[in-house]
């Protein structure tokens, strides 16, 4: 019989090896799936993983990886701080929406004035919006001990309804012939989060994501607060003896996650997406949770995991149009990738051993 035995230290070897193993396993299982659907399995897998990076059009897809991956990384970095400390914010989707609404709202309030300070103000409003939305579960937890998983999740639905209300009411484009959705911020230069270098995919959101990765790395490894976060997650009792103030930690972790998610929303709405609309949110907040775990809550890991997720999205779209794979098959494929990553992850912290059955 096989059992698991906890390793005294997480295995370094397996830390690096598991993602590779998981991707290989997914490719094998995916190949079976695609063959079952009547598609050439090798070509399908190649299309998803190879085309976006190295095909003749990679000059277009590589920047798109940044565009798709940046919000994921930015949100996941914020979430990972809390997750490390055992604070479970799963409402990033809501914080993302509110950040976008607040940021876009500030920008639209100035329309059509052109001024240098509009975009910075929007960034501030976006971050504040996300922060405030995350403060609701944080304060309720600190004050009443309510479960933040549930409150933050509930607030996602509230945010979605607010988004619909804004798109159909307050923020609706007055020149949009009555259609829902705000003015397009891409056509409002002072509010537009444009590519910093055209064709590079680099916009302020990508820059912020990279900065967030670096700051999170420094925070966790070089800073007392980072130490407290890690300690609280790993040994809550010890943390209390070490003088960690749990309330402050909750406010910090949820607040940071909210602000980063709000920023991601603002950069998206003012850049790639352009407008507040009913279907503005496409699930980045939830996917980022998966990204955070795939990256093992480590900043560098999250960066790589965000890239991997973005790759499957973009490669999946190419496979759809080139090979006629249904969108559902891509979804199943992504699901399998996550399952395998989560499943093989156990080898990092545990050793699998064969034991003879003992009589209990």
């Amino acid at each position: 019989m096989l059992t698991l035995e906890k390793r005294p230290q997480p295995s370094r070897l397996w830390t690096y090896l598991t993602p590779v193993v998981a991707v290989i396993l997914t490719m094998l299982a995916g190949a079976v799936l695609f063959a079952f659907l009547g598609k050439d399995p090798v070509q399908s897998i190649r299309t998803i993983f190879w085309e976006p990076l190295f095909s003749e059009f990679a000059f277009y897809y590589r920047p798109q990886l940044l565009v798709k991956g940046a919000p994921l990384v930015l949100i996941a970095i914020g979430l990972s701080l809390g997750f490390r400390a055992g604070i479970w914010n799963i409402g990033a989707e809501g914080q993302y929406i509110i950040g976008a609404i607040c940021g876009a709202g500030v920008g639209l309030a100035f329309y059509p004035m052109e001024a240098w300070f509009i975009f910075p103000l929007m960034v501030l409003a976006g971050a504040l919006g996300g922060w405030a939305w995350a403060m609701i579960p944080a304060l309720l937890k600190v004050r009443f001990g309510t479960n933040e998983i549930l409150v933050s999740l509930m607030l996602v639905y509230v945010a979605e309804q607010l988004l619909a209300s804004m798109s159909l009411g307050l923020l609706k484009n007055p020149e949009g012939f009555g259609f829902p959705g705000s003015r397009n911020l891409q056509q409002y230069p002072s509010a537009h989060n444009a590519e910093l270098i055209a064709g590079s995919g680099m916009h302020w959101g990508v820059v912020s994501a990279l900065v967030a990765v670096i700051l999170a790395y420094i925070l966790l490894n070089r800073h007392m607060l980072g130490f407290h976060i890690r300690l609280t997650g790993e040994a809550p009792r010890a943390a209390r003896f070490a003088g960690v103030n749990p309330a402050r930690l909750i406010l910090f972790c949820l607040g940071t996650a909210g602000a980063l998610a709000g920023l991601a929303g603002l950069f998206e709405v003012s850049g790639p997406s352009g407008q507040v609309s009913i279907d503005f949110n496409v699930g980045y907040g939830f996917t980022a949770i998966i990204v955070a775990f795939l990256g093992r809550l480590h900043p560098i890991g999250i960066l790589l995991a965000g890239g991997l997720m973005a790759l499957t999205y973009i490669g999946g779209e190419i496979a759809q149009s080139k090979l006629g794979l249904p969108a559902a098959a891509i979804q199943v494929f992504q699901g399998m990738l996550l399952f395998f990553l989560l499943a093989v992850d156990v080898t990092t912290n545990y050793r699998i051993r064969r034991v003879t059955r003992e009589v209990a």
Partner: protein, 306 residues
């Protein structure tokens, strides 16, 4: 504006129907969470149940067989979650979210070729005598059997949790898995059973939508009901009877707002639609003063050697 056009009897009767898929999924998730496991994959299991039930019902011509298949399908999918979280000790939040993603894709693949087909009709049961009672008859006693099954299931779960040894063990596992393990209970086995029960209930709830309430198959047809079921469990503070109350509240608000609209009352639909969630948060806050809290081990992985 014409409130008179709302027929309260019919309103309550349709509320019973609207609440049933929610009720089924939520009571299943309640058992899972009482065992200390948080499965966010309810939506994925529901939609998988919806297509399994639909396909089997169409192919066998029997809606009852379809319902059984739906429960089996939901349970089978939940087994994936169980393996990940109980054996591979993967994070439950991430696993649950992945399960939803996977279930949505899988159901769409399975469902190719089932669009535009009408499933075999489901017999409605008019309970003799009782269904003729004025007012109460149409509200309570003229539904399909799944509505009654849902109510019976709530009662059964309540009774098992409260009065039986099995229920006691389940709750012990959910409160403190290390202590339960020390007492010799098979924590992992109990949790897997609970997860599968939750999967079966979610599958059944999904099939209720595709076979009875709508009835048809279309991709993504559960449209977020699984997420509401999750909210409902919290709203109910993990108590079976409150799940029922919550299902009627959540289901009822949709039906009520449509009724008000049809009666010509100008209501801000978005704000009404967000009210159940705000109420849930309020309940959470109030509850924190109460003894009834979330199961203490909720969402934590268990490994015997620790």
């Amino acid at each position: 504006m014409d409130f008179g056009s709302i027929n309260p009897i019919l309103l309550l009767a349709s509320l019973m129907v609207a609440a049933t898929p929610l009720l089924l999924a939520a009571i299943g998730e309640l058992v899972v969470e009482r065992a200390g496991v948080l499965n966010l994959g309810v939506e994925g299991m529901m939609i998988t149940g919806a297509i399994c039930g639909f396909a089997i019902a169409v192919n066998t011509g029997s809606p009852i067989v379809g319902l059984v298949a739906a429960a089996a399908g939901g349970a089978a999918l939940s087994l994936l979650f169980a393996v990940l979280t109980q054996f591979a000790l993967a994070n439950q939040v991430a696993s649950g979210l992945s399960l939803t993603l996977f279930g949505l894709g899988l159901s769409a693949l399975l469902g190719q070729g089932y669009q535009g087909i009408k499933p075999p009709p489901f017999p409605r049961v008019d309970i003799p005598l009782l269904s003729d009672i004025p007012v109460l008859g149409p509200i309570l006693f003229r539904h399909d059997i799944v509505v009654y099954f849902g109510l019976a299931l709530v009662a059964a779960v309540w009774w098992v949790l409260k009065n039986t040894r099995a229920g006691l063990i389940l709750r012990a596992v959910g409160e403190n898995h290390d202590a339960a393990h020390a007492l010799g209970y098979k924590v992992v086995r109990i949790r897997i059973l609970a997860i599968m029960f939750g999967g079966a209930c979610a599958g059944l709830g999904g099939a209720y939508i595709s076979l009875i309430r709508v009835p048809q198959w279309t991709e993504g047809m559960t449209a977020g009901i699984g997420w509401i079921a999750l909210a409902l469990v919290v709203f109910a503070s993990w108590k079976p009877w409150r799940v029922m109350l919550g299902a009627y509240l959540f289901g009822g608000i949709t039906v009520l707002q449509l009724n008000l609209q049809a009666a010509g009352v100008a209501i801000p639909v978005e704000y009404l639609a967000m009210s159940p969630y705000l109420i849930t948060i309020l309940v959470l806050v109030i509850m924190s003063a109460d003894k009834s809290r979330a199961p203490a081990a909720l969402g934590r992985s268990f490994h015997a050697s620790q």
